[in-house]
């Protein structure tokens, strides 16, 4: 059996990496400015004399592609961590209102600082988003002790999301005219306008948090069987749960800080990856979700940019179209418990 599995997993991993590479290149190559593939590569390696092309590729498309890949991965891993925590495949940072909580605090922080003409740096944005994530998370955790089933918890999460979004709208309404456009774009979700400096911060946070999550593979695997069994195999439940919550919040906070709320990726990608790999082993699913999330967001961003170019769609519009049906699938597969491997 392990041979059959090894082959399946290898095929899946290789395909994912290839897909990631292809979508990354496409994201670099395709755009409103017509730049050939060879020009893109020469721009990257610094052998291109066309200044406009170099600027477009290096300052706009490359950070955008990197951000889409990293943040997509972060969302998927964050979703998977939440699904493990709540032992439910339809938990995710977006439906539980965690993204919206982060959105609210970032909007507030931006508004407040803009008044004094200060522009928040990357780390401060993430910090603000983290505070919001943790507030929503705290509300969800409080509720999770009281509600009887997961469906109620999800509904509570969606409601928290609505409350946060409404408050964000309110904030935006009272923003200065000059800031409105920016803030509005961001609050709808978009990978545009992310600089290379932002990407560096994103890379450090996302890669570190994902690596930390990967190191939790073993207790997560035991936890899938339930608390008692996890405890019996030596898992420190309190520590483990805290780590899961913190890591998933950091990851989704990072996404929201830079790209605004991005819907459904956190549920859809882990579900697709679990189906493709035929397992829920965290040691496999965490890296696979990361790559899968990168592919998903790269492709969605490409569609968001190009479908009605030059008009750009918000990223959530596209991820919702592809992600929401998968969420429904995940829900149905949960209902008829007898899913196959």
């Amino acid at each position: 059996m392990s041979r059959k599995r090894a082959i399946r997993w290898t095929i899946c991993f290789v395909s994912l990496v290839l897909l990631a590479a292809v979508s990354f290149v496409l994201e670099l190559v395709i755009g409103s400015a017509d730049i050939s593939v060879s020009d893109v590569f020469s721009a990257l390696t610094g052998n291109n004399s066309d200044k406009a092309a170099v600027t477009i590729v290096r300052d706009i498309r490359l950070p955008r592609s990197l951000a889409a890949a990293l943040l997509g991965g972060a969302l998927s891993v964050s979703g998977f961590l939440l699904q493990s925590y709540f032992n439910n495949p339809i938990a995710g940072p977006y439906v539980l209102g965690i993204s919206s909580g982060a959105k609210l605090t970032v909007a507030l922080a931006m508004m407040f600082t803009m008044k004094y003409g200060i522009l928040l740096n990357s780390a401060e944005m993430v910090g603000a988003a983290f505070v919001g994530s943790m507030l929503s998370m705290g509300a969800i955790l409080l509720l999770s002790g009281r509600v009887r089933n997961m469906a109620q918890l999800i509904i509570a999460g969606v409601m928290i999301g609505y409350i946060c979004s409404a408050l964000t709208e309110l904030t935006v309404t009272f923003a200065d005219d000059a800031n409105i456009v920016n803030l509005h774009n961001w609050s709808m979700g978009s990978f545009s306008g992310i600089s290379m400096d932002n990407v560096k911060v994103i890379a450090v946070i996302v890669l570190a948090a994902t690596a930390a999550a990967f190191m939790l593979s073993k207790p997560m695997c035991a936890y899938q069987l339930g608390e008692s069994y996890a405890k019996n195999t030596g898992v420190d439940l309190k520590l483990f749960r805290t780590a899961l919550i913190l890591l998933s919040s950091i990851l989704s906070a990072c996404v929201t800080a830079f790209a605004g709320p991005v819907s459904f990726v956190g549920i859809a990608v882990p579900h697709l990856v679990r189906s493709a790999f035929g397992t829920s082993k965290p040691i496999v699913i965490i890296p696979a979700s990361f790559i899968g999330g990168a592919v998903f967001c790269l492709v969605c961003d490409l569609i968001a940019r190009m479908l009605f170019a030059p008009v750009e769609l918000s990223i959530s519009t596209v991820t919702a179209v592809f992600g929401a049906p998968v969420v429904i699938m995940a829900m149905l597969s949960r209902r008829n418990q007898k899913g196959s491997v």
Binding site: N87, M215, C221, L225, G226, G234, G278, I283, Q337, G339
Partner: protein, 363 residues
């Protein structure tokens, strides 16, 4: 492979500050099976959870190999003690082999990657429990009985010295119950594992345990061998049986007796009358039975169900006194059923009884 492995002193267990069971003291040796019995809500599962370090003891100690459980690290406990519960497993896309493999976690490295030796232990555990054929099957797609044996396999793969099981036979059919308990006995015998479990099936508890711990009214009421516990009316007292009766030798229960003036007289013996007794009970007809020897196989059933029972001492021929007594009762009944086809030497009295009754009824 002998010696005490698990013990408790002055143990009180419960949730928060609420004591559920107090004053527990027991010892389990290697290779021994201890079964906790007692009425619903007596706190059996709470005791198990405390023994398994899932719930901190309120006071007193639980020790494994003379180490206080409270002072041991979760990791050390995991290598000495494993558990098996009946809760449903909702893990998605986990094969049975994946599940059993988690039993190796206390022995693997940071990422939980199995070595060849770990894999061997997992396969041994699956073979021992007869679940190898389920290796690639999703844990959610198997029956309760299969799941229970897979979870036992997981617990075995943990190579414990103490195995704790909460009602391992619930939801299982009789074949699976027997199979699971036989595996536990075999584990105790061949590996010297101490087994602590709760059971509701008293017949099985009696046959598969070395020791029984009886919990009643928040205390350990008795602890002893099955022979010591299944004696007299003790089990009936333990469970406060009010409707029906419990027979301790075979650990079987009978429905409540229909009291009143006997309407039917049953001549039975050697087990021939049992079906009739039960049928009359079901129909709600009070009946008398006799003459039954006190060592007759159907004596306990007749004693439980008959409104009136005429008996004879064990290994003695039926006396004419008993026959006359039976005849007197018989004459008041509207019907007589004789379940015996051939009367043996010791049973001649019943033949006489039947003949006398036939003579009487002709008159």
């Amino acid at each position: 492979m002998s010696g005490v492995i698990l013990s408790s002193k002055e143990l009180s267990v419960g949730y928060g500050k609420k004591v559920v069971v107090s004053g527990l003291a027991f010892e389990v040796s290697r290779g021994e099976v201890l079964t906790i019995i007692g009425p619903n809500g007596a706190g059996k599962s709470t005791i198990l959870r405390s023994i398994a370090a899932q719930l901190p003891a309120i006071s007193g100690t639980v020790s494994i190999a003379e180490n206080d459980l409270a002072a041991m690290s979760a990791h050390d406990i995991a290598q000495k003690l494993s558990v098996c519960f009946t809760e449903r497993i909702t893990a998605e896309r986990m094969t049975c082999e994946d599940v059993v493999s988690t039993g190796r976690h206390p022995y693997t490295g940071r990422l939980g990657i199995l070595s060849d030796k770990d894999r061997k232990v997992v396969h041994e555990a699956m073979e021992l429990t007869g679940t190898m054929y389920l290796a690639d099957t999703d844990i959610r797609c198997i029956s309760d009985g299969q799941r229970q044996t897979v979870m036992l396999g997981r617990a075995i793969a943990q190579q414990p010295e103490v195995l704790v099981l909460d009602e391992p036979t619930s939801f299982l059919d009789i074949n699976n119950k027997l199979r699971l308990l036989s595996i536990l006995r075999e584990l105790a015998r061949s590996r010297g594992i101490a087994v602590v479990q709760t059971l509701h099936e008293l017949d099985l508890a009696q046959r598969f345990s070395d020791k029984l711990l009886c919990i009643r009214e928040n205390k350990a009421d008795r602890i002893g061998t099955p022979e010591e516990i299944f004696t007299g009316a003790y089990i009936s007292e333990l469970y406060s049986i009010t409707s029906g009766t419990f027979e301790p030798v075979y650990a079987t229960a009978e429905a409540p007796k229909v009291s009143g003036e006997p309407q039917v007289f049953v001549i039975g013996g050697g087990g021939s009358g049992i079906d009739t007794y039960r049928r009359l009970q079901r129909q709600g007809i009070p009946f008398a039975a006799g003459v039954i020897h006190e060592n007759d196989i159907e004596y306990p059933v007749a004693g439980s169900l008959a409104a009136e029972l005429i008996t004879e001492k064990a290994f003695e021929p039926i006396s004419s006194e008993s026959v006359q007594k039976a005849l007197a009762v018989m004459k008041k009944c509207r019907e007589v059923i004789c379940c015996v086809n051939e009367f043996g030497t010791m049973n001649m009295g019943n033949k006489k009884l039947l003949e006398e009754y036939e003579r009487y009824s002709k008159v």
